[in-house]
């Protein structure tokens, strides 16, 4: 029960953040059908992931509920004991693909949201510190960011995962290491522009401590551009994580994300049993496209001058 309440609270928090990001510019955001469709799709997927245990026909990781004789059934066939219909078919273990997708969605979204949150925190701290301190510290930190960004994210993540081994926590750590630099660079840019403004000078004259100026005055003004990147980064993270899992260096088998589901079904695709990878792939495509579309609209709404 507590758990359910917590998930409802999370959903409310997400909706509140979205409303805050729009800041009364909702009609500017909701222009054209794509804006409605993408926002609706995203909302549906988030709800599906949050309430997967309540919605999904079976718990795909409860081995007692699985029947190996139901393995590799085509979409629409019913189980051996006629207890349920597998609308999207089953995998080689007799797992309902629909339930697998719902639970996989949870893993994918959890990993990407957690990664984005952590990477953003680190990036904001580093970026603001660099902009505030200036001098040698700034030069060093920004060189580090440049160095990191000159290597493709997938390669760095692959290398880290190769030395870490599989695991949800390890994927998050690797992806945070890959992504903090984006935030650091953006925040430094914004913070540099903001520090030269009068309100910071005023705060300094009032004798506020550095920490107070940074956190109470500078930080809130660095957030809007961050919201846009973080939305798009969530989508990028989902793709990156699913690619790692597809390559076999991502999340473990016991906790499959959408990418791992696709990878598991890949071996059967050439023999015509397409449903094991195509449906998780469609889910992945839908959620990533929805997030990207929402991010795109958000960018146009919040800051029309900001270009990718």
């Amino acid at each position: 029960m507590m758990d359910l309440l917590l998930r409802c609270a999370l959903l409310a928090l997400g909706l509140w953040l979205f409303a805050r990001a729009l800041r009364g510019q909702a009609d500017l955001y909701f222009s054209g059908p794509m804006a409605y469709i993408s926002a609706a799709v995203l909302l549906v997927f988030v709800c599906l992931a949050l309430f997967a245990p309540e919605i999904s026909p079976q718990n795909p990781y409860d081995l007692a509920q699985l029947n190996i004789l139901d393995g590799r059934l085509a979409p629409g066939s019913s189980s051996l004991d006629d207890a349920m219909v597998y609308h999207l078919g089953t995998d080689d273990q007799g797992r309902d693909i629909l339930s697998g997708i719902l639970y996989g969605l949870r893993v994918s979204l959890t990993v990407s949201l957690l990664t984005t949150l952590l990477a953003m925190t680190i990036g904001v701290l580093v970026g603001m510190y660099a902009a505030w301190k200036g001098g040698k510290a700034e030069a060093f930190l920004m060189r580090l960011v440049d160095l990191q960004l000159s290597f493709p994210s997938i390669l760095v993540a692959l290398m880290l995962m190769a030395s870490f081994g599989r695991g949800v926590d390890k994927v998050v750590v690797a992806l945070v290491i890959v992504q903090w630099a984006y935030y650091a660079r953006t925040v430094r840019g914004t913070a540099l522009a903001e520090t030269s403004k009068d309100y910071i000078a005023a705060a300094r004259c009032l004798g506020f401590s550095d920490a107070r100026i940074l956190l109470r005055h500078l930080l809130p003004n660095c957030v809007p551009p961050l919201l846009v990147i973080s939305t798009i980064q969530v989508a990028n993270t989902i793709v990156l994580e699913s690619s790692l899992s597809f390559l076999g260096v991502g999340v473990p088998i016991t906790n499959p994300s959408l990418g791992l589901l696709i990878s598991n079904g890949y071996g059967y695709m050439l023999s015509g049993q397409y449903w094991m990878s195509i449906y998780p792939g469609l889910a992945l495509l839908a959620i990533v496209a929805a997030i990207n579309l929402v991010g795109d609209r958000l960018r146009d709404t919040i800051n029309p001058r900001l270009k990718r």
Partner: protein
């Protein structure tokens, strides 16, 4: 210029330190070098043979010395020198990345220019929405769909492998082999899709800006056809930044080839890397990493230099302006 070169060398040196401490010290290399049932004496012998009994700075200097001579150890699985193995697989990856880049330009550039020309009409908006899907589609999933549609359903193109190669300048390439190109089409197209979206977005932004310039008005006043203005005059002016970005993207093409090569079983160095990771073939992983660093640093350097050469207004860091 010298400063820029020194900077690149510094990056390589820094990566060497990271790789050395990351790969050679965290895991115990002895465990993977010899069988688990080796006797104590054998372990000691191997330690001495590979120099693991030496203090750490001596080991590091040895690693650097070997690396400078192009020696990064021997593959456990293949029994060949790791660098040689990478070099053997590299041409396949490079030709795939190059063809992918060409596809990206051929697909993305016209679409982007047209989207910029019709930015406010539905055509432009449709292309922009299309690029978002191009960004969203995971590389491996596109590859799978291509295989499902073109290889399994239509049976037009082969799904995996590399096909024939011809030897040109000592390299085995598929592009020029009569039976090889059809093996390349699907993987290269898969690889190109993401970059094509990127090119289209860049080209659109550039075209929108260029259309406001005086030379376009002048060309229109002269009565030059719209398509000629777009694809001759405008294209020429927006090309430089796009080429620069694409140069940098070549590196990421090579990196993303890891995924595409795995889907299509393309025998390039990306697939070699994944196989080495699953088989814990550590020297090959290290060799791939060092090679990748070398390639990226070189690409960055070349693009920087080309950029200053193409556009003299750009100054390298540290140079007096």
């Amino acid at each position: 210029m010298l400063r820029r070169l020194a900077q690149s060398l510094f990056v390589i040196a820094a990566m060497m330190v990271i790789v050395f401490f990351g790969v050679y010290l965290i895991g115990n290399p002895i465990d993977i070098l010899i069988s688990p049932d080796a006797s104590l004496q054998e372990i000691e012998d191997t330690k001495i043979r590979f120099g693991f009994d030496q203090p750490i700075h001596v080991q590091f200097l040895q690693f650097v010395g070997n690396a400078l001579q192009g020696n990064l150890g021997r593959s456990f699985v293949h029994g060949e020198s790791a660098v040689g193995l990478i070099l053997h697989y590299m041409p396949a990856t490079l030709e795939l990345a190059m063809l992918g880049l060409i596809f990206a330009i051929v697909l993305g550039l016209p679409l982007g220019v047209y989207a910029g020309y019709r930015a406010e009409q539905w055509q432009g908006k449709a292309i922009m929405t299309g690029t978002i899907f191009g960004f969203s589609l995971p590389n491996f999933w596109v590859g799978m769909l291509f295989i499902l549609f073109f290889s399994v359903h239509l049976q037009w193109l082969p799904s995996t492998g590399r096909g024939e190669t011809v030897e040109i300048l000592g390299l085995h390439l598929s592009v020029f082999a009569p039976g090889g190109l059809k093996y390349m089409l699907l993987p290269a197209l898969t690889l190109a899709l993401y970059k094509a979206s990127l090119v289209a977005r860049l080209a659109r932004a550039g075209t929108q800006e260029a259309l406001l310039q005086d030379y376009v008005k002048f060309a229109r006043a002269k009565g030059i056809s719209e398509s000629r203005i777009l694809f001759l005059h405008v294209l020429k002016n927006i090309l430089i930044p796009i080429v620069a970005v694409l140069g940098l993207e070549l590196g990421s093409m090579i990196a993303f080839a890891v995924v595409t090569e795995t889907v299509f079983s393309w025998p390039g160095m990306g697939k070699l890397l994944i196989d080495s990771i699953t088989k814990l073939d550590r020297p090959v992983i290290v060799a791939y990493l060092m090679m990748a660093v070398l390639i990226f640093v070189t690409i960055n350097l070349v693009v920087d230099l080309l950029y200053t050469w193409l556009d003299p207004r750009v100054r390298l860091i540290g140079e007096p302006s």
